[in-house]
Assembly symmetry: C2
Homo-oligomer: 710 residues x 2
C-alpha cells in the first residue's frame, strides 16, 4: 500500500509519472480525451497508452481496449469517460496497480445528490486503496518542468516562461486557467498549475503541501472558494514559512456566507470571511484581492531581497509623482519617514536650491540636464540607516548608454535595501530603454505603480510573518499542568446557566466574580454575608438568557433585608416571565466595581473549528462590530495582536481620565480560553464571557454563557 | 478692458488664438522656446511670430527683435525667457494689446521669497490689466480641436485620439503629462490638456469652468494638489452638474497635511484631506485614487447610459468569475440582488440542471456548446425590473460571425439597463474577436475587471449626484427671517466663555440648557430657585477651558444650601488652579436628564472656509474619530447625510433599550450653525457644541465654546 500521508511521495505519480493511460481517449484533438494525447505526444517524454475499445490507433499510438490490456506498468491514469463509468474504471486502475488518477469527467457533487453519491464512492476507493485522485470535474494539471500537460484546458498550448518558480492551485477551473494565461503573458513563470475540481480525494491544501516540499517551487499561489480542512492548511502554511516560501491566496466569497444564526454574540458576529482573514493573518498566508497582486509580487520576490521594515524613502522627478506615491504607500501601511540630517545634506549638495530633499524627494526637472542627481540621491538614501525601502519614480530621459545607469546598477548591488524602480511612461518613451538596461541587471522595476506598491506591502507582510515565526511568543505554548476536567459540568447540546458557565471558566483559572447560587431566601442572605455587602443578585437558569428583560437582576443590595426581598422579587418576576423555566436558584454575586467592559467569546467554524473573538463591550460590539478573531489554539503573540487590532483599542490605554486597563490579564484569559477549547474541541459549541471587566490590575468575568456541542 | 469674469470669453484667446507670439523663441527644436514653433508651424493654422533679438529667421518664419515690432495684432503670447525678464515682456504684451499669455519660465514662487515677489507682480498686472495668464512654471496647454500645442512638453508630438471629449487640468506638469500620454495610449480622447503651473492668475478651477461651458468637452478630469479658492470650485462643480458633465479629480496629499493645532475638538479632528473628501461628496465631484479610474470611466460615460441604481446582476461562465465579480461589486457598494422568480424561470429553461440561475448566474461550461444560453440569460436579466446594472463576464469561445453576437447586440440596443461586458482572456483568445464585434456596435467592454467596476461605481455616483442636484432638500435654503445680530457678543480673537458661546447659540435659536451666571453666593441661590432644582454649577471663564480639571463643576445640587456651598468651593478651586484667571461668575444650569451625547462643531479651513463637523460624543469622537464634515453652507440633505454617514449612526436609532434620538432636531441645529457661520463667515474661527444632548424629542446644548477670528 502506498503511503497516503507523505505529500511528496504519494503525489509524485501525478506530477512525475513515467507512463500515462488516457481512459476515454479520443481521436478528436479538441475533446477532453483528445487534448492531452496530442500534447503529450508532441512535448512529453514517457509512455502514453490511449484506452478506448472503439479505436485501434490514436495519434500514431496503439489504442488499448481496456486498462488491463496495457502491456507495461502505468503510473498515472487520466479518466475522461461518462460519470457513471468512472468508478469501474478506477477499480480497474487499482487492479492494474496504477497509483494516481486525474478525473476530468463532470456529473458528480456539482449536479446534485446522485452525483454526490457517485463521488462518495470515489472518495471511499481512494481512502481504501491509497490511490491518489485529482478531481473529478477538474481541468487537470500542468508540470512545466517536464512538459507534462495532463489537462484538456486550452492553456496546455501556451509556452512556459522562465524562470519557472510559481506553483498555482485553483478551485475554479475556467477562472484559474484565465489567471494562468494572463499571468503567463505578463511574464510570470509557473512550474505547476492544478485545477482541483470537486476534491473527492486530494484537496487544495494537499497540493500546497506538495509544493512547499518541492525544491522547484519558490512561491505558491492559489484561488480558493472554501477550504476543506482548516487544520491541514494551517500546518502547511507553517511549513511554508519554515521553507521561506510565501503563499498568496485569492480567497473569494467575501460577501456570500454572511453571519449565521447563533445563540452567542460571538457566533452572530463571526462571518466566514472574517475568520478566513484572521486565519490568514495568523498563519502568514498573504491574502490577495486580485490575481494582479500575484503578477506584481512574483518578480519582487524573485529579486531575492526582503525589506527589513516599513520605512520608505521616495525619490521622484516630479512633485506630483512623489506625493502620489506617498499616498499609495501610506494607504498600504508603508511609512514615508523623515530622512536623517546627513542624508539630506548629501542630497542638497547636488539638488537645485528650490528642489526638496525632504521625503518624498523631488529632484525636479533638473534631472533632465543632470542625470547624476539621481545616482547621488539614491546612494545617499540607501546609506540612511532609518530607511528600509527606496522607491524611485523613474523618469530618466537619457540614452541607454549613459554612465549614470551603470552607477545606479552599482549602487543597487552594493546596498541591501529594498529598491524598486517605478518607471513613468512618457511620450518619447526614452525611459523604456533605461528600463531594459535595469532589467538586464535584475533591478526590480514595474510600470504599474499601484500594483507594485500593493505587492511591496505584501512582501513586507511576508517578511514580518517569517520574523513572527521565529519569535517564541508566536509559538503555541505547551500546556502547563494537567488538563482540567470539565466533563462533569457540560452535557452535549446543553446551554449552561451563568453559574454553570462560570464554573467551567473557574476550572481553567479564569477569574470570575465571586458568587454562590442560593435556593432559598435564607441561603441568599447567608451567601450575601459570606461574600460581603454590597452584592448583586441574578436568576440562575439555562432557560433565561436575557435576565434583565425577565426582571431577574437586582444590583447594589446593601442589607440582609434587601437581599431577602430581592430573592422573592426575582423568583416572582421570572416565574411570570417564563412559566415552567428551570430555575437553579438565584446567584448572589459580589458587586463588581466599575472597569472597562470587554467580551471574549468562542464560536465553532465549520472549516477552522473553535475560533476566539475579542472586542470591547457594549456599543463597540453591538453597533460598531469592532472585534478581532483568531482560530484556536492561539499563541500569546496572536492574543496580543487580537487586543491591539480592534479600532477602539485606545480605550484600553485609558481615556477620559481612566487609568490603563490590564491588557496582559486580558491576554491571559484569551490563552486560557484557547486551552479550554483546544482541550474540549468537540465539546464546546459557543462561549461568551460578556462582560469581562478589566481593571488596572486584573480582570473578572461578570457574566458568561456556554453552549455545549450536540 | 477685457471681461475678466466671463470664463469663456476671457479664456478664449488661450484656447482659440488667431495669432501667437513666442517670446524667447529658440531655433533649437528641443528647447522650450523652440518646441512650440516647430509644432505650430507643422500643424496649426494661424499667424506665428517668433520674438528674439538675436535671430532673423526661425523655422522659415521672420523673427522679430521685440513684441512691439510685430506688424499685426497678436491674441496670445507664449513667454519663455529668464524669470527676471518676464514682467517687462508682459508689460510690452499689454502695450501691444495682447489678451492672454502663457509663461513657461520657472524661477517664481517655487524657488523662494524672491521668486514669490516676482510672481506677485505678475498677479498684480493680471488684475490691473485684465490680461489672462497661464503659469508661470507650467508646461502650457493643448487644444486638440484646432491642433494648438502651446506647450513644450514632449506630449505635443502625440497624435490625438477620437472622439475628443475629455478636458484635463493638472497642477503637476510632468506627472500630468505622464497621465495624458498613458491615457491617450489607452484610447482616451482628450480635447484639452492644461498644466496650470504656479497659478499666478488663472487657477485650476478657472479651466474647469471654461470646460464646463465648452460644448466640445463632455467630461473633465483633474490632478489636484490643493485648490486655491474653494468657493469657486464649488460653484463650478454645481454648474458642471447642471450641464451633465462629470468632474473626476485625483486629489493627492492625503497624508501630508495632517491635523493642526486647534483649541476645539472640531479643529483637531479636521485634517485637510477629510475636508476635501467631504467637499467632493457635497459637490458631486468624483474623487479618483488613480488616473486609471479616468481611463476606465471615459468609455463607460461615452456609452451615454447612466445606471438607474446600484442593483447589479452578474452573468458569468464560471463560478469563480461570478463570485470574484460579486466581491468586487459589493466592495464598491454595488448590490448583487436576488433575481425575480420569473427571471430565474426564463434562465432555468435554457441552463443545464446543475447550473445556477441565482445571482451571480453561473452559465457553466454548457456555454461552450450552446452559446445561445448567453443571449437568453442576458435578455431575461435585462427584463428584470429589480436590476439596474448587468455585468457579463465574457468567455464566449465562438467564431466572430456567430449569430448569437447579433442577438446580444440587439438585446443591448433594446434595453435601457446599463450593460457592461468583462471579457476574460483565454489561451486561444477567441474572445478577442467577439470583443471586436461588440466594440464595433458600441457595447461597453473592458478587459480589466477591477478598473471597470471602480469606474462603474463612479458612474453610479455621478448619476446620484445629478439626482441630488434636482432635489429641493439639497438646495441651500434661503435665510428665513432676518440675520441675527451677534456682533455685540464676540470680539476679534477672543475665546468666549461657556455662557458667552451659549448666548450666541441662543440668538440663532439653538436650544441651550437654561442657565444664569451668578456673581455671588446669594445670586446663585436665587438663580437656582428660578431654574428649579436639581441644578448643575460650572465656573464661567474664558480662561478655563477644562472646567472639570480645575474643580470648576458641581452636579446634581438639590438645595439652597448645596448651591451656596458649591459656589464657594468652585471659586476657591478655580482661584487655586489658575490665579489671575478672569472669572465672570458661576453658571447655574438646569440639570439635564440623560440622553445621547453628540458634538457639532465648526473649524475654518484655509481653502473652504467654515466647515461643519458632526459626531457622537465621548469615546466615539475621542478614540474612534468617527465624525463627518461638510463645508458651509450646508443643505438639509447634506446635514442628513452628515448624521447618517458616521459609523456609529445606529446609536441614534436607539440601542440597549434606549428610544431613538431626535435626528431631525440634530439636523436643525446643523442648519442653524450653518446659517451662523455663513452670516459671520469672517468672525468665527472655531465652535464646539459639546455635548449637544439629544432626546427622543428635541435637543439641548449642555456646553459650548467659541473662538472668534482675529
Amino acid at each position: 500500500m502506498i503511503d497516503n500521508h507523505n505529500p511528496i511521495l504519494s503525489l509524485d505519480p501525478l506530477f512525475n509519472p513515467r507512463s500515462i493511460a488516457i481512459i476515454g481517449a479520443s481521436s478528436n484533438p479538441e475533446k477532453p480525451g483528445g487534448v492531452p494525447i496530442v500534447n503529450l505526444v508532441e512535448k512529453w517524454q514517457g509512455k502514453i497508452y490511449p484506452v478506448n475499445p472503439t479505436h485501434e490507433v490514436i495519434k500514431g499510438l496503439k489504442c488499448y481496449p481496456s486498462i488491463m490490456d496495457i502491456p507495461g506498468s502505468v503510473d498515472l491514469a487520466i479518466i475522461s469517460v461518462a460519470a457513471d463509468h468512472v468508478y469501474d474504471n478506477l477499480e480497474q486502475c487499482v487492479a492494474k496497480g496504477i497509483k494516481a488518477a486525474i478525473i476530468f469527467s463532470s456529473g458528480f457533487a456539482e449536479v446534485g445528490p446522485e452525483g454526490l453519491a457517485l463521488q462518495k464512492k470515489i472518495t471511499g476507493l481512494a481512502g481504501r486503496t491509497g490511490m491518489r485522485i485529482l478531481g473529478p470535474n477538474c481541468l487537470g494539471l500542468l508540470n512545466t518542468n517536464n512538459n507534462l500537460a495532463a489537462s484538456f484546458s486550452s492553456i496546455v498550448d501556451l509556452p512556459p516562461v522562465d524562470p519557472k518558480v510559481l506553483g498555482f492551485v485553483s478551485q475554479s477551473g475556467a477562472f484559474g486557467a484565465a489567471i494562468y494565461s494572463t499571468a503567463l503573458a505578463e511574464g510570470v513563470g509557473f512550474n505547476y498549475f492544478i485545477s482541483v475540481g470537486n476534491e473527492a480525494d486530494l484537496e487544495f491544501a494537499d497540493f500546497i503541501e506538495y509544493m512547499v516540499h518541492d525544491p522547484q517551487t519558490l512561491l505558491i499561489g492559489g484561488y480558493l472558494e472554501g477550504a476543506k480542512n482548516g487544520d491541514k492548511l494551517r500546518r502547511v502554511a507553517e511549513e511554508a514559512l519554515d521553507n521561506n516560501k510565501p503563499i498568496l491566496i485569492m480567497k473569494v466569497g467575501r460577501t456570500s456566507a454572511g453571519s449565521r444564526a447563533a445563540a452567542s454574540h460571538t457566533g452572530s458576529l463571526a462571518g466566514s470571511d472574517k475568520i478566513y482573514s484572521a486565519f490568514f493573518k495568523q498563519t502568514g498566508i498573504i491574502r490577495i484581492n486580485n490575481y494582479t497582486d500575484l503578477i506584481a509580487f512574483t518578480p519582487l520576490f524573485m529579486s531575492k531581497r526582503l525589506p527589513r521594515g516599513r520605512n520608505t524613502a521616495i525619490i521622484a522627478s516630479s512633485g506630483g509623482a512623489g506625493v502620489t506615491i506617498t499616498d499609495y504607500c501610506e494607504s498600504m501601511g508603508l511609512n514615508v519617514v523623515p530622512l536623517r540630517e546627513e542624508t539630506r545634506k548629501k542630497i542638497d549638495s547636488v539638488l537645485p536650491s528650490f528642489a526638496s530633499s525632504r521625503n518624498p524627494i523631488d529632484l525636479t526637472a533638473a534631472l533632465m540636464t543632470e542625470p547624476e542627481i539621481m545616482s547621488v540621491t539614491l546612494k545617499a538614501v540607501c546609506e540612511d540607516p532609518d530607511v528600509d525601502i527606496v522607491l524611485v519614480s523613474l523618469n530618466l530621459q537619457i540614452p541607454s548608454g549613459h554612465p549614470v545607469i551603470g552607477k545606479i546598477v552599482q549602487i543597487y548591488k552594493n546596498t541591501d535595501k529594498f529598491v524598486l524602480f517605478l518607471p513613468i511612461k512618457s511620450a518619447k518613451n526614452l525611459v523604456d530603454e533605461v528600463v531594459v538596461e535595469f532589467q538586464k541587471a535584475a533591478l526590480p522595476t514595474n510600470y504599474n505603480t499601484t500594483d507594485a506598491i500593493i505587492a511591496l506591502a505584501q512582501l513586507v507582510q511576508f517578511g514580518e510573518a517569517l520574523e513572527r515565526r521565529k519569535q517564541e511568543k508566536y509559538c503555541i505554548a505547551p500546556r502547563s499542568g494537567p488538563r482540567p476536567i470539565i466533563s462533569d459540568l457540560i452535557r452535549p447540546g446543553e446551554t449552561l446557566s451563568e453559574s454553570g458557565a462560570k464554573a467551567v471558566l473557574e476550572r481553567y483559572g479564569i477569574p470570575i466574580a465571586r458568587q454562590e447560587v442560593a435556593g432559598t431566601r435564607e441561603e441568599a442572605v447567608i451567601s450575601a454575608r459570606r461574600i460581603g455587602y454590597p452584592v448583586a443578585m441574578k436568576v440562575d437558569s439555562p432557560d433565561i438568557p436575557h435576565k434583565t428583560e425577565a426582571g431577574g437582576i437586582r444590583l447594589n443590595l446593601n442589607s440582609d433585608d434587601e437581599v431577602g426581598r430581592a430573592f422573592a422579587d426575582i423568583i416572582e418576576n421570572v416565574r411570570k416571565y417564563k412559566p415552567g423555566a428551570l430555575i437553579n436558584g438565584v446567584a448572589v454575586q459580589e458587586m463588581l466595581p466599575e472597569g472597562t467592559e470587554v467580551i471574549i467569546g468562542v464560536t465553532r467554524d465549520p472549516v477552522f473549528g473553535p475560533t476566539i473573538m475579542f472586542g470591547l463591550g457594549g456599543i463597540f460590539v453591538e453597533v460598531l462590530k469592532d472585534v478581532s478573531f483568531r482560530v484556536a489554539p492561539v499563541s500569546r503573540g496572536d492574543a496580543e495582536d487580537m487586543v491591539r487590532e480592534i479600532k477602539g483599542s485606545a480605550v484600553l490605554k485609558g481615556v477620559r481620565g481612566k487609568p490603563p486597563a490590564d491588557t496582559k490579564a486580558i491576554v491571559d484569559v484569551i490563552l486560557k480560553v484557547s486551552d479550554m477549547v483546544t482541550d474540549y474541541r468537540d465539546s464546546i459549541e459557543e462561549l461568551d464571557i460578556n462582560p469581562l471587566i478589566v481593571y488596572p490590575r486584573g480582570v473578572k468575568a461578570a457574566d458568561a454563557m456556554l453552549v455545549a456541542r450536540k
